[in-house]
């Protein structure tokens, strides 16, 4: 083993390079854990959307629910429907409750307790298809879709089915995800023999864990168990399980009593489309964090190799070949990366578990999608993360290793010659031109999301190049504005120029973090601003009432003195897509409330709209279906259903809606034909009080259904802010990582600047002052990077809004550049950097001057 002596020295050298090793490992672990946490969160959420199962039951195509909260779905309704032969129906009751043990609340947030009528369920063909003993012969042709399902069911589904079957008979059990069970067990003080109860101390059935992506924050049990635990619970819905023919469906719809309605299950694709923005966001941030971590790796390896330089030279003198040195060190990095990835993956999974309640809550509240824990294949995840990390870290150590190669080949670190400098300068400019033009071309010519992301990366990289090309000039500019009264500051400024050459990589990391920070912040800020503005303008009434179906609020409100504006809606097919036809009031008040993205210049816009001579469409309609102002579209009349042509008069903002929408004047709608959920209410407080009373009398719940506009606004913004909490967090982490990278670089540079600092201190400048000067130097680098990052950050948010959001979701919003926000980002960034780099600087400054002098001489 010819490498052995070298490896021996290498391992022993770890004693002296604890810091750089720790830094290396920490950055790799951060990168791996961040990446795997996001992968886990995303994949479990995606698995849940992909999974069309509801409460573990596959193939649910429709549900039956109450039309209004006032008249509930009852056991009697269920029995009556079943007696009429609608055997596909399975009753489900749900209630959202905490889990207790010894009167201690164990659950962090309320858990959905779901009770299923398993007796009805398990004799459905989906669960138990009676099979004749002798081989059925002629049945293969008539094999129904259900049977196919059954045949194709995986072992997991069989396990699920048998567990569901047990719910009916065995000692009462309830199914939940192992993760949730773990969480509950962990929250209880005692290790075993935990008795989970409801708040009123009714013992929960025995909990059985089942790894199934469809399970989320819920516990599934037999319906009788649910009603034992919560006698006041009520039926939520009847599931229509399995395929039913159109004939069966219409028979069922015909048989429904007045207070019930048949609802096709929303396919989750629409929701997942929406939530994609969230996942994209998360993924982008994780990758960003990963990349920035790689910059630390570069710096940490640099630091590591720097420390080794002396004995590596000795090794060379002893005749160990350079190739050998590199091979072993490369191998070392691979090993360290593998170790760090493994640790990172496990940390990531834990992190995902920690984060998942809030992520789930966000997704569930925002997009009404059920999010499960998902199944994570640890091996798969490990391989994935290890692969990415290895590629990353091998790329990352290329730079320090080539530098080492250079150092081992020459005994002296020669400054670059003028021609070399010019060469590098040209390379940097060339890469700026390359990235900038590639980004430009991509942004103007592609629509695929991933290519747009590549374009975004190009924009950021071109910014990096531009920064590197202009660092000296900009620093010189900074220096020139420092008055000669401050000779030390001037010297310091000059030094930072010299430093910039040696901290390129760390500065780039900081630049990337700062750019994306500015970009994301401006985007979110714009989105927020636009949403507030839009809501503010659109929510022009005093109050809003949400009520679907009977009784009609318009009728209720008669005599209360309030003005009710009804919003009527139809869903129609347009070019194979489901679109919304919405009514819009035409009075002056509501005209002003409209927020246009673009409108025809015509003064007659509202006149034409009122007369039904034209329509308004939302951005989703215009961008998604490719229509512009002045184009004519053919739509059915909301009342008569006759198709007629309508020119598009204007395009309006409609943030966050997944639907393409057409607005038509209210007088074209007939309240009897169209659905109505939202009623805008105007009136004085006393009238509102009367309305509240009549709502109460009608069995409605004014506390949740009658909402003051301000509260609505506040609720909306609360939901909005919650969504972006996570991205904010990731932003700060990225910044932190960039600062760490800078700190790493500083530690490497510490040795370079030590003689100079020694000299300055020997001239009688205090240690404190010297340290402040050092800090000033680095902050100066950061400030310049920040200044460069600003236009690129703005550009980035522009791309995010007008390209990526446009392509992904067919809507945009105005970009708001708030200087205060940018200053805030400056302050945060510099603060984070100061906090991090102050550590090595203070450490260095604490050494007595004499040590430095001895070290230098």
């Amino acid at each position: 083993m010819k490498h052995w002596p070298f490896i021996f020295v290498l391992i022993n050298s770890y004693r002296n390079s604890k810091f750089s090793l720790a830094m290396l490992m920490a950055s790799l672990i951060i990168a791996a854990s961040g990446l795997s946490a996001v992968l886990v969160i995303n994949s479990s959420a995606k698995q849940s959307y992909d999974n069309e199962k509801q409460f573990l039951i596959p193939n649910i195509n429709a549900t039956i629910v109450a039309r209004t909260p006032s008249k509930k779905l009852s056991k009697q309704d269920y029995a009556a429907l079943r007696i009429q032969g609608f055997n596909h129906l399975v009753a489900v009751a749900q209630t959202r409750q905490h889990v207790y043990s010894n009167q201690n609340k164990l659950s962090k947030r309320r858990i959905d307790f779901t009770g299923i009528d398993t007796f009805s369920l398990i004799t459905l063909p989906l669960f138990s298809k009676p099979q004749a003993l002798s081989q059925p012969k002629a049945l293969s042709k008539t094999t129904s879709a259900e049977q196919k399902n059954k045949i194709n069911t995986t072992e997991e589904q069989q396990l699920t089915d048998s567990l569901l079957q047990q719910l009916s008979f065995n000692k009462a059990t309830a199914i939940l995800h192992p993760q949730l069970l773990n969480n509950l067990q962990a929250a209880a003080d005692v290790a075993d023999g935990i008795i989970f109860t409801t708040k009123s101390e009714r013992a929960l059935p025995e909990l059985v864990a089942l790894e199934d992506a469809a399970l989320g924050n819920d516990i599934i049990m037999d319906i009788s168990q649910l009603f034992r635990l919560y006698p006041d619970a009520s039926l939520t819905m009847l599931l229509v399980v399995g395929e039913i023919s159109a004939k069966q469906q219409s028979a069922l719809q015909g048989a429904l009593p007045e207070h019930l309605q048949f609802k096709n299950t929303e396919k989750t694709s629409q929701n997942s489309e929406l939530t994609n923005s969230f996942h994209l966001n998360l993924m982008a941030m994780a990758l960003l964090m990963f990349v920035v971590c790689l910059f630390i790796v570069v710096n940490a390896v640099n630091l590591l190799l720097n420390g080794r330089l002396a004995w590596l030279k000795i090794c060379r003198q002893l005749g160990i070949s350079r190739l050998q040195l590199f091979t072993v060190q490369l191998l070392e990095i691979v090993l360290l990366t593998s170790l760090a990835s493994a640790v990172g993956v496990f940390l990531g999974i834990e992190l995902a578990k920690l984060a998942s309640p809030s992520v789930q809550a966000t997704l569930e509240n925002l997009y009404q999608v059920q999010v499960g824990f998902g199944q994570v294949s640890i091996t798969g995840l490990l391989l994935q993360v290890l692969g990415i990390c290895l590629v990353g870290s091998v790329c990352a150590i290329f730079i320090p290793l080539s530098k080492l190669n250079h150092q081992l080949a020459h005994t002296k670190d020669l400054p670059l010659s003028f021609t070399q400098q010019r060469f590098w300068k040209r390379i940097i400019w060339a890469s700026f031109v390359f990235f900038a033009s590639l980004g430009f071309i991509l942004l103007h010519n592609v629509q695929e999301l991933w290519l747009l992301l590549v374009a975004t990366a190009c924009v950021i990289l071109s910014g990096c190049s531009l920064l590197l090309a202009n660092y000296p000039r900009s620093l010189a500019l900074v220096q020139s504005i420092i008055p000669t009264r401050y000779p030390l500051l001037q010297v310091s400024a000059k030094q930072s120029l010299a430093l910039s050459g040696k901290t390129k990589i760390a500065c780039c990391a900081f630049f990337i973090a700062a750019t994306s920070n500015i970009g994301m912040n401006l985007m979110v800020d714009s989105f927020r601003g636009a949403t507030v503005g839009w809501l503010d303008q659109r929510l022009a009434a005093d109050y809003y009432v949400y009520n679907s179906g009977e009784p009609k609020i318009t009728e209720l409100a008669q005599g209360t003195g309030v003005n009710v504006y009804q919003r009527l809606e139809n869903y129609v097919q347009f070019k194979g897509q489901k679109i919304q036809q919405f009514s819009y009031p035409t009075d002056k008040f509501n005209q002003q409330a409209m927020s246009f993205y673009e409108n025809s210049e015509s003064d007659r816009l509202w006149e034409q709209f009122t007369l039904g001579e034209g329509v308004l469409v939302n951005q989703q309609f215009s961008f998604g279906l490719n229509y512009e102002i002045g184009d004519t579209i053919y739509l059915p009349h909301p009342t008569t259903g006759e198709t007629a042509s309508y020119p598009i008069l204007g395009i309006i903002y409609d943030f966050g809606s997944p639907y393409a929408q057409v607005l038509m004047p209210i007088n074209m709608f007939d309240a009897a034909k169209s659905k109505s959920y939202i009623y805008a209410i105007q009136g004085d407080e006393s009238a509102i009080v009367r309305l509240r009373e009549v709502m109460l009398e009608a069995g409605l719940d004014p506390s949740t259904q009658l909402i003051k506009t301000e509260d609505l606004l506040a609720m909306s913004m609360q939901a909005f802010d919650n969504t972006f909490v996570i991205t904010d967090g990731l932003n700060v982490v990225t910044l932190l990582v960039a600062a760490l990278s800078l700190a790493c670089a500083i530690i490497v540079l510490m040795n370079d600047v030590r003689p100079q600092n020694m000299l300055i201190r020997s001239m009688g400048v205090s240690a404190m002052k010297t340290q402040l000067l050092a800090l000033f130097q680095y902050l100066q680098l950061c400030l310049v990077a920040l200044i460069f990052a600003t236009p690129f950050g703005i550009l980035l948010s522009w791309i995010l809004i007008f390209d990526i959001n446009y392509q992904a979701f067919s809507w945009t919003y105005p970009l708001i550049i708030n200087p205060l926000k940018i200053i805030q980002i400056y302050a945060t960034s510099l603060l984070v950097v100061t906090a991090i780099i102050a550590i090595p600087i203070v450490r260095a400054g604490r050494k007595p001057l004499i040590e430095d002098i001895r070290w230098v001489n």
Binding site: P487, Q490, V491, Q495, P755, G764, S766, I853
Partner: protein, 225 residues
Amino acid sequence: MFHIKKLTKSYTDAGEKRTILNNVSLIIAAGDSISIQGASGSGKSTLLHLLAALDKPDAGSIELSNAKLNSDSDITQFSEKQADNYRRFQVGLIFQKFNLIDCISVMENVMLPAKISGKIHAEYIQELLHSLGIEQHVNKLPNQLSGGEQQRVAIARGLAHKPPLLLADEPTGNLDSKNSDLVSQLLVDTCKQLNTALVMVTHSEKVALLTQQQWYLDDGRLTQI
């Protein structure tokens, strides 16, 4: 006038206590040029560091009596702030290497201590540069100069703020003999010309002979040759 009284300093090296300065006493008067020779590790540099208030002795004192100061002071008792002030106004330091900041010009390097102490004497510095023969290099960067030239700039820098005492630790240790002769001659001559006391630590007997007094440090004791 610096009065070194019974300085004692010892180190613990590998568990063994080693006294490198043992009751050392010396008087440095204005304009004196003193060289100190001795074997490696004999404590030459330590003595210099004590004089620069960079280190503290185990016993003894270094008393400073200067007309410009109001009272006699003991350098060895200086606080850090006092020490900084002392170095800023009273002492110039020249090292064997890294005497210059390489990102600023020769002129800026020379001017730096003067600017820090706030005592800028442009004519004096011109003169200084002239007498050291480096006035044609003022706008260059340090790494564009030869080693001998760099050390000459270092001398100028060490004297730029007109300190009464210049401490030089092996100022020619990195130079070839020809340059060594030239630089040390210039050093001694310039100090004499400015009436600045010079304490120079050196290995070289030849360099030592240029000074008025030659001292030898051995086994913690300082003896004049």
